[in-house]
């Protein structure tokens, strides 16, 4: 097996043997290995905590975007009922962007959930192997001559070392994925901080740069469709609907608010 699988096996074996090269005295090797294992276990715990933190951050961002979607939807309806089509369109464009971001956040949260589960399983496996190693190391120290002990140590350390290398790989993958998501989350934060999803009435009339950019981001036909639908619904309400002052409009229980 020289291809995909052979390479990974070779790299892991090289890592394990590096670990064993450290000490001449078998007892010292055993204690050193054990110490490294316990350190690694701490690192894994920290890695899991990082994933959980990243997940919580994304979930907070999700709930704030959800609020924005509801707010923008309400504003679009108010604008339609007041006959301000441009304002309604802007609100819907922003809502569209927020909804797209929400979907992407959803996927990312599930992905982090899966990473967290995997790392937790790996941590459990590593802990069991370290515990087995601890028991075995005392037996080796007590029962074997130096030469025999070296062989036994190498056998025992291989199993733990491989698990350690594997957890290391899993952590690296989790970190890479989390980093990508952080970058994306930062971009959404910037949009939020720029007031993209804020109260549109505070913006006054006229388009700013953000609006120009958002128009390109949001799907025009989806916005057109939703605007037409909204006009149809609100139009049925007749002239009364147009009298509702801004900020006081009843919030229709339509599906588009999810």
């Amino acid at each position: 097996m020289a291809g995909l699988t052979g390479r990974l096996s070779t790299v892991v074996k090289a890592k394990v043997s590096k670990l064993l090269d450290r000490a001449e005295d078998p007892a010292e090797t055993l204690d050193y290995s054990y110490q490294r294992q316990v350190e690694q276990l701490q690192n894994v715990k920290k890695g899991i905590a990082d994933v959980v933190t990243a997940k919580k951050r994304l979930q907070m961002q999700e709930s704030s975007l959800q609020q924005s979607v509801v707010k923008l939807d309400t504003q679009a309806r108010q604008a339609v009922s007041q006959g301000k089509e441009d304002l309604a369109r802007t609100a819907l464009e922003r809502k569209n962007v927020a909804q797209t971001e929400l979907q992407s956040l959803d996927t990312q949260v599930s992905e982090l959930e899966a990473q967290q589960e995997k790392l937790t399983d790996s941590e459990k496996q590593l802990r069991a192997k370290i515990e087995a190693f601890r028991t075995k190391k005392e037996v080796i120290k007590a029962q074997y001559s130096a030469a025999e002990a070296q062989v036994r140590i190498s056998e025992a350390a291989t199993g733990v070392g491989e698990q350690m290398a594997d957890v290391g790989l899993a952590m690296q993958r989790a970190v890479d994925k989390t980093e990508n998501m952080k970058a994306r989350a930062d971009a959404v934060s910037e949009l939020e901080q720029a007031g993209t999803f804020d109260d549109l009435t505070a913006l006054g009339s006229g388009e700013d740069d953000i609006d120009q950019q958002l128009k390109q981001l949001s799907s025009k036909s989806a916005v057109d469709d939703e605007l037409a639908k909204m006009k149809g619904e609100i139009g049925q309400g007749g002239a009364d609907a147009a009298q509702i002052p801004a900020g006081d409009a009843k919030q229709p229980s339509e599906s588009g608010q999810a």
């Binding site: 291809g3 995909l4 790299v11 892991v12 192997k129 087995a132 594997d166 690296q172």
Partner: protein
């Protein structure tokens, strides 16, 4: 022989399974080299399922090194490609 699926578990397989594993891996390699993403997904899935189905999980407190280590199940097509060009999953 003992086969590890990276990020998952170690499995003990009968020595007679090696030939079939080799076959499955060769198919996988040719899919990756041929740039066939669907073929890669199918072959990789088959290889992992074969190990999971035919193997017995090695208990967590057994300290054994693996004879073979398979990449993690969420390996992407792009990552598989990099394996061949030498970057690998684990930096050297």
């Amino acid at each position: 022989m003992i086969v590890r699926i990276s990020g998952e578990a170690q499995y003990r397989l009968a020595d007679g399974e090696t030939a079939r594993l080799n076959e499955l891996e060769n198919a996988l390699v040719s899919a990756v080299e041929g740039g066939r993403e669907e073929g890669f997904e199918e072959c990789f899935g088959k290889l992992l399922d074969y190990v999971r189905e035919r193997g017995t999980p090695v208990p967590d407190d057994e300290l054994e090194g693996s004879d073979l280590i398979l990449p993690p199940g969420d390996l992407t097509f792009a990552e598989a490609g990099r394996e061949f060009t030498g970057e690998g999953l684990i930096p050297d």
